[in-house]
Symmetry: D2
Subunit: 91 residues, 4 copies
């Protein structure tokens, strides 16, 4: 069980809302809504997904990474973390 | 009816796939999968959403914006477009 | 002479300030300043560069792109513009 | 003295190159070069700055953060790190 278990309900609730936003985008396209309005909604879904990503990274550092450093065995976890931060920041 | 009507089916298909990816993320959390793997999946959903955003912007420029410029009435549309590009690029 | 000629002085002044910020970053490293403070300064230089990029895009659309659309010859310019927006937004 | 001391020369060399790129951007504007070409050069300077930022974050985690976790005192450093990652990833 990983670190984010502590706020698993929160992550799930956020992802359910994002799923609803993505369904909303499909509806906006069905209804021929204005491109710029659809884009605004899409930016909002992207920002919500990235907030979930920050939450995952945060829990990962506080648990997996911190615990492996405490065990004197942090090298590989830090390597993996920074690669993940790099991919996340590059978007 | 707006410009993206020409590839509405494509946009809808992409959004349905993204909806599936977001449901996949909820399942990964239910199954306590590894944070870094969830983050990889999340980056992929974000990239797919942004590709849809680029598609919307592209159609918007080729239709709404180009047509208003051809009518000699492009000022407000260009203003609105560049504000949308700014928000999209800022993420 | 391109569109940004109208605010060339502004672009130059912004770039001179950014050049100063980049020199400031080298000084912060020489002085062994705290990583997080250097990163804050670096984010500020990046944001300033991207603001210049938005200014260039904005002038490009208002002049080069709008003029070629008015001449009934916008296709290639729009293609090139959207590729540039895509690279800029991807960062 | 902070963690990035180990590759201070590398960071300095990269920043000197970025300073040269920013001066190059001013020259491109003086010479009325094409907007899209200037934007390409600007994207390259931004990417180089962000690579320096990733280097700073990497060294910070491997030294400051890891050492404070090893001392059993990582909480505040992790808090500060994740706030910095969030600002860096938000761009």
């Amino acid at each position: 069980m990983y670190g984010y278990a502590m706020n698993k309900d929160d992550l799930r609730a956020r992802l359910r809302r994002i799923e609803g936003q993505v369904r909303g985008l499909q509806r906006m396209i069905d209804e021929d809504q204005y491109c710029i309005d659809i884009l605004t909604q899409l930016n909002s879904a992207t920002a919500a997904l990235r907030a979930v990503g920050m939450g995952l990274l945060d829990d990962h550092v506080r648990h997996c990474v911190a615990e492996s450093i405490e065990r004197g065995d942090g090298e590989a976890k830090i390597e993996e973390l920074m690669a993940a931060v790099g991919r996340f920041a590059a978007k």
